[in-house]
Symmetry: C2
Subunit: 209 residues, 2 copies
DNA sequence: TTTACTTTTAACAAGATTGTTAAAACACTA
DNA sequence: TAGTGTTTTAACAATCTTGTTAAAAGTAAA
C-alpha cells in the first residue's frame, strides 16, 4: 500500500468535505462538489469512505472531537480563582469559535437529534462540571446564592456563541462591514467576563423588579 | 373561481410547507413530503406556487414579516422608561421566539446570504432604532457612557435568542428533560432584563479587570 | 521485466426529485 | 342540464444524485 499517496488523498478529501459540509450542510452538500474541490474523481470518495453518510459522520465526529474537550477543560487548575477561570475560559472559547463553526454542529443536530444522543456519550460527563463547580461556589458563599447555576451556564454560552454564529446578521443589522464587526468584537471577551463576574458578585439589587 | 376551496387548499399547503421547510431546511425539504402533509397531489404545489424556490421565498418572506416588525417596535411609547421598555421588549421577544423558530431564518441566510440583502431592505431602517435610542440615553446621562450601544444590542439579542435556538443542546448538556428546560426558562426573561438593567446602571466597577 | 497489489478513472445503473401536461373531477351559472 | 372555467389528479419527462464496477494506471518488489 502506498501510504504516502493515500494519506494525502484522504486528507485532501477530508479538507474538501469539511468545507462543503460546513457551508452547505449535509442535505445541501454534493459529492461532486467535494470531489471537485479535492481535485479527484468522485468514485474515490466511495473508495475511501464508502458512502456520503459515513463521510459525514467522520466530519461530524471530528468537529465534536475539537469542540467537546474545550467544554470539559474547566477545573484544570484548582488554585485559580473562579474569576480568572471564567476569564480564561471565555477567552479561549471565543477564540475557538472564531475558527470553528458551531452552527454546523447545531444545524445537523436539529436535522437529526439522534446525532447528539448517539455520538456525544463519552463527553457528556464533562459537561456538567461547570454547573457543579458553580454550585460549590454558591455553597461556599463565594458567589451570590440566589442565581441558578444552570442559568449561568446558559447565559455564558449564549453570550459566547451567538455573536459569532450570527455575525452576518448582526453586522447587517448594525450597518457595519464584517471587518468592522470583527473589530467591534475584539474587546468582547472582556465585556462578557466582566458582565458575568459583576452579576455573580453582587448579592443584592438583582432579583428586584 | 372557487375562492373558498382554493384558499383553504393554498393555506393547507402553506401550513405544510412552513412546517417542512422549518424543520428540514430548503435543501432537506421534499415537495412530496409537503404535499403528503397537506393531503393533496404533488402537482398542486406547482399549480399554486410554480416552483419549490417560489414556494420557499413565500415561506421565508412570511417568516420575515412576522419577525422583523417585532424588532422595530421599540420606541412606541415615548413616556415609558427605558427600564420598562427593555423589560417589555425582552418579554415579548422571548415569547415570540418560543413560537417562531429563528433558526430557520438564520440557517437559510447562511446558506444563501443573498436572502438577507435582497429581502429585508424595507425593514432595515427600523433595525438601528435600538442603537440610536441607547446612544441618546448615554448622551442624556441616563445610562453609563462607557459601553458601546452595539454591544448592548448584541448582548440583548444573544441572551434572548440563543437559549431558545439551542434548547435541545442545552437540555441535553444540563441533563434535564425538555419539559424541565421549559420550566427553567420560565423566569428567564426577568433574569435577562435585570442583568441588562444592572449592567447599564452601574457606571463603575465595570471595565475594571 | 514480470508480478502482485494499490489507486484512480470512466462508464454505467438505480432511484430520487422537480417540474409538465393532458385529462378528469368539480363548481357554478345560464 | 349544458356550458364554462377552475381545481385536482395520474402519468410522464428530464435531470440530478448516489453508488457500483470493470478496467486502466501507478507502484514497488522479486
Amino acid at each position: 500500500m502506498n501510504t504516502e499517496t493515500s494519506i494525502s488523498t484522504e486528507e485532501a478529501i477530508l479538507v474538501a468535505a469539511r468545507k462543503v459540509f460546513e457551508s452547505k450542510g449535509f442535505d445541501g452538500a454534493r459529492m461532486q462538489e467535494i470531489s471537485d474541490r479535492a481535485g479527484i474523481n468522485r468514485a474515490l470518495l466511495h473508495y475511501y469512505f464508502r458512502s456520503k453518510d459515513k463521510m459525514f459522520e467522520r466530519i461530524f465526529d471530528e468537529a465534536l472531537e475539537r469542540f467537546m474537550p474545550l467544554l470539559s477543560t474547566w477545573d484544570q487548575d484548582p488554585d485559580e480563582s473562579w474569576e480568572l477561570k471564567l476569564k480564561r475560559f471565555i477567552r479561549t472559547f471565543i477564540t475557538f469559535l472564531k475558527a470553528n463553526s458551531m452552527l454546523f454542529l447545531l444545524r445537523e443536530i436539529i436535522r437529526k437529534p439522534d446525532l447528539l444522543t448517539s455520538r456525544t456519550k463519552k463527553y457528556r460527563k464533562g459537561l456538567n462540571k461547570f454547573v457543579l463547580y458553580f454550585e460549590r461556589l454558591k455553597q461556599e458563599g463565594q458567589i451570590r446564592s440566589d442565581v441558578d447555576s444552570k442559568h449561568i451556564y446558559i447565559i455564558m454560552h449564549s453570550l459566547c456563541s451567538f455573536p459569532l454564529m450570527n455575525a452576518i446578521v448582526f453586522s447587517y443589522s448594525l450597518r457595519i462591514s464584517t471587518k468592522e464587526y470583527d473589530e467591534l468584537m475584539a474587546g468582547y471577551p472582556e465585556i462578557v467576563s466582566n458582565l458575568l463576574i459583576q452579576m455573580l458578585k453582587h448579592q443584592n439589587n438583582w432579583t428586584s423588579k
